[in-house]
């Protein structure tokens, strides 16, 4: 029998969090340390199974002695750090990040936690003016870096645009995209390494796109659905779920989630089957499972039609 020691035991460092002195393992991020201490911290672009991109900035905290706020998701703890998670600066930045997103993106399907934070911080997106009308199909994908129409301030620019449905498995509703990069990371180096999608364009016109915005079935996409699995705002959705939502038949209260093992190859990936009315309506994998880290292949995520009856 083999006991294996991988790496050395972690040293502990002392950090002050909101006036309380705590000991946390060296090498942890501030977010891990905060969560370990039970300090709730909002996140959007962070996910346990992806490398932090620290793009959304909603998890910022105030580190004493630093000019700017620090993203908790990716800042490692250091001995003697003094951290404030609820200072006026922190509250203001978190509120503004959520408000800026809410004023430009459809957050109606964001999870309850996000909505809770928006309420906590008193987000008021309407003060930026009425939303601008949605862009025509493909218009945002044609925008050029470094050029934009000057605004007159009468409406608030948004990312609203028509939904993209190009196959039977995915729906891409980029009006709901907060550009958290999670889908790009999951399609790319953090999991699938197919790189079918990337961030294209720049600034407010940045968007998630295939090369030259070609339709998904023509792209490199292998339909693993790992982008769908990590999307926090419902911008990416299995078509099975989208269809039910469109017809008003998506009923979370009538759904059960059961963990089982995929029936295909011999890797043994854990699946979380969401079942409603004795039908599978969505398949995911646990983020914290060491076999999949939440990521699946096309068969595991979509190959359930043979048991639908």
């Amino acid at each position: 029998m083999s006991a294996v020691l991988v790496g050395l035991p972690k040293r502990l460092v002392t950090v002050e969090v909101d006036g309380q002195s705590v000991r946390v393992p060296e090498g942890q991020t501030l977010l891990e340390a905060l969560r370990g201490q039970g300090v709730a911290t909002p996140t959007l672009c962070y996910l346990e199974n992806l490398a932090p991109v620290n793009a959304c900035r909603v998890c910022v905290v105030e580190v004493a002695g630093q000019r700017t706020l620090a993203p908790a998701c990716s800042r490692p703890v250091e001995e003697g750090m003094v951290v404030a998670t609820d200072s006026p600066r922190v509250r203001h930045s978190r509120k503004m990040v959520l408000e800026l997103l809410a004023s430009s993106v459809d957050l109606s399907l964001a999870d309850d936690e996000i909505k809770g934070w928006m309420a906590t911080y008193g987000v008021a997106p309407e003060r930026y003016g009425p939303p601008a009308p949605p862009a025509a199909a493909g218009e945002r994908d044609r925008r050029r870096a470094g050029h934009h129409e000057p605004p007159d301030g009468s409406v608030a620019a948004t990312v609203a645009q028509p939904v993209k449905i190009q196959d039977d498995l995915y729906v891409r509703d980029y009006s709901k995209c907060i550009l958290c990069y999670k889908c790009v990371e999951a399609c790319g180096e953090d999991a699938q390494n197919t790189f079918a999608i990337a961030v294209a364009g720049r600034g407010f016109d940045a968007r998630i796109a295939t090369e030259f915005d070609v339709e998904l079935p023509d792209s490199a996409c292998v339909y693993c659905g790992n982008c769908v699995g990590v999307c926090p705002t419902g911008a990416l959705m299995p078509k099975s779920e989208w269809d039910l939502r469109q017809s008003g038949q998506w009923r979370p209260d009538d759904q059960q989630v059961t963990e089982t093992i995929c029936s295909f190859c011999g890797v043994g990936c854990p699946l979380e089957l969401t079942v409603q009315d004795n039908r599978i309506v969505r398949v995911d994998s646990p983020l914290d499972h060491d076999i999949t880290r939440g990521h699946l292949c096309v068969k595991g995520r979509f190959g359930f039609e043979h048991v639908q009856h």
């Binding site: 620019a157 720049r202 090369e211």
Partner: protein, 616 residues
């Protein structure tokens, strides 16, 4: 990797452009080999896109496919890079594009009149000429503020060209494929060169006096003696002089250069790199362009010293894409240095290797941020990295890297020539040595000036001939679009890091842009807001959406919106951008606007921030 490419072939011209840069495609039509070798080619992506763009004016799907196949880069990823840079186009574009600067300094020199003439003669911006070969566009600052109004023409298949100062006829000549006007004499950019004391300037003394295209001329003027001295001192000796000199970086952040170099020199991980940040894009800044155009060998000498001192065998120069003359002179100077053994496997026969590679920017202000610049060299979108870790720890290709501004590098020659302590004795107590200031706008002699730290704004203005054409001073923008405004009564401010900080001003990269009473200051602020909205990389929310909301709010304000509401909103936006953005672009995007409001330079003045305070 398992690439998936669609059916689209490059044209012969595109293929030829790619062949000129990349390894030939394997004969058996198998895709490029995968593995570590293929992944190590990624850094050639931007040069390959530029090669195609230089040849045919844009990058087609077929050309992108071919580049992706050769470099083993996924096409969506490559397209993400292609669409990030303003000077590249992913759809057909005329072969000749005139980029007409309508940024701050050029606005004071008739940019709108020029744009109006062009619109009358050539049609609206962005619309191709009847024969499809040419168009004109508005452009952010081209770094030619000393010669405003400025135009730079991107010309596929022929050399890019500059006309500055430009008339509509000059632009039409460039768009017809004609020869660009001869550049004005160096003294037009460095007025001090004509002054009697010009030859004594520590950094600019060779400008207008030594042929920038001749290595022999540079050596005859004492060139490469400092490198000899550096080799005599050894890396530790150079670091000691640098530390003694108290030299601070000239790119805007004023970080102690000695500390930075020591961190790289002593890093255990190898290899190390040095990178020159010549992606000068801060509106109002043109100092690096002038130095590279007029004294490229001095810059190379400094880079060699940087390589020697930090233990780097390879250096990169990331040069702004809109600087054709600087590129030509740098390329020529590097070639001459290689021929003479000043670059290569055994520099000066002193037993160390160093070589330099020039990478061109492709139209992204953000790439002036050091980590975005590193990403760009690596062939990626110019998105800044989160810091820490800093480039001295994890920089180019993940290795310890010293990133230095061009001016900083050239200043090091002066440090080593005089010795660190003597260098530190010049300037002010906390700002040692001399500094290059880019004086532009409504002054009689716009140009690049070298003065000791401590000279006041008023003295600098006087050096530049004072306000032109009898105007009254309205305001001075220090530090560029990311900087701050100075009121007329503040012009006795000494130009030092410490005085500026005290006065809540920013020296930044050394921009001193003068606006007289005829300038429409709110319009300038709108130009700045539009600039940041265009140049935000889009990675983080505070900057991506904040710059949009800032521009919208300002538009309402200018149109007569409620100052209490809008100024309050702008203040809230400013705070989240400054506090929570990833990089300096977001941190400083609200700076000038906020400063103008705080200094009551605009009609909406400064109001009590009741809303803002409440939000706390």
């Amino acid at each position: 990797m398992d690439l998936h490419l669609r059916d689209a072939a490059p044209t012969e011209a595109e293929r030829a452009a790619i062949d000129g840069l990349l390894e030939p495609a394997s004969a058996d039509l198998q895709p490029a080999p995968g593995g570590a070798h293929a992944r190590a080619q990624r850094h050639l992506l931007l040069p390959a896109l530029q090669a195609v763009s230089d040849a045919v004016g844009w990058v087609s799907e077929g050309a992108l496919n071919e580049i992706c196949r050769r470099l083993t880069v996924p096409p969506a990823d490559a397209h993400g890079v292609l669409s990030f840079y303003a000077l590249l186009s992913d759809r057909p574009r005329p072969a000749r594009v005139a980029h007409v600067c309508d940024d701050l300094a050029c606005q004071t020199a008739g940019a709108e009149e020029l744009a109006g003439d062009l619109e009358a003669q050539l049609g609206p911006a962005g619309v191709a000429s009847d024969d499809g070969t040419a168009t004109w566009e508005r452009s952010p600052c081209l770094g030619l503020c000393d010669r405003a109004p400025a135009v730079w023409a991107q010309r596929a298949g022929e050399p890019d060209a500059v006309a500055a100062p430009a008339l509509a006829d000059d632009v039409r000549t460039l768009l017809d494929g004609g020869k660009p006007p001869a550049p004005p004499p160096a003294s037009r950019s460095v007025p001090q060169a004509d002054d009697s004391a010009g030859g004594d300037l520590p950094m600019l003394r060779r400008v207008g006096r030594v042929d920038p295209e001749s290595l022999d001329a540079y050596r005859a003027a004492g060139g490469f003696e400092v490198l000899r001295r550096a080799v005599d001192l050894g890396p530790d000796g150079v670091l000691r002089e640098l530390t003694d000199s108290e030299l601070a970086g000239r790119g805007g952040a004023a970080f102690p250069t000695g500390v930075k170099w020591r961190a790289v020199a002593t890093a255990a991980v190898r290899p190390h790199y040095v990178v020159a940040n010549a992606d000068e894009s801060e509106p109002g800044t043109f100092k690096d362009r002038v130095v590279l155009e007029q004294d490229p060998f001095a810059f190379i000498e400094a880079m060699i010293i940087a390589g020697y001192t930090t233990g780097s065998e390879r250096g990169y120069v990331y040069l702004r894409g809109e600087y054709p003359l600087a590129l030509a002179r740098l390329d020529s100077a590097i070639a001459q240095c290689r021929d003479r053994g000043l670059l290569g496997a055994d520099v000066l026969g002193a037993g160390f290797a160093f070589d330099l590679e020039v990478r061109r920017g492709a139209g992204a202000y953000i790439c002036g941020e050091e980590t975005a610049l590193i990403e760009s060299i690596e062939g990626k979108r110019g998105e800044p990295r989160n810091k820490p870790p800093f480039p001295t720890q994890v920089g180019l290709f993940g290795q310890p890297t010293a990133v230095n501004n061009v001016e900083t590098l050239v200043a090091i020659l002066d440090v080593l020539a005089r010795g660190g302590p003597e260098y530190a004795a010049r300037g002010s107590p906390r700002s040692s040595g001399t500094k290059l200031f880019c004086v532009s706008g409504c002054v009689a002699r716009p140009g690049l000036y070298e003065v000791e730290f401590g000279v006041t704004v008023a003295e600098l203005l006087e050096l530049a001939g004072g306000i032109a054409d009898g105007g009254e001073l309205q305001a001075i923008l220090l530090g560029g679009a990311a900087g701050t405004f100075l009121r007329p009564e503040q012009i006795d401010l000494p130009l030092t890091f410490e005085d500026a900080r005290e006065a809540k001003q920013a020296l930044g990269s050394g921009v001193v842009m003068v606006f007289d009473d005829r300038v429409d200051l709110p319009a300038m602020l709108q130009r700045i807001a539009a600039f940041f909205r265009d140049e935000s990389c889009g990675q983080c929310v505070p900057c991506r959406v904040g710059t949009v909301r800032q521009e919208e709010s300002l538009a309402r304000l200018v149109a007569g919106g409620d100052p209490v509401v809008e100024v309050g909103l702008l203040d809230e936006l400013a705070r989240v951008m400054a506090d929570a953005s990833i990089c300096g672009l977001g941190h400083t995007a609200p700076s000038a606007l906020r400063s103008a409001i705080d200094q009551q330079l605009v009609p909406w003045g400064r109001h009590d921030q009741a809303d803002g305070e409440e939000a706390r």
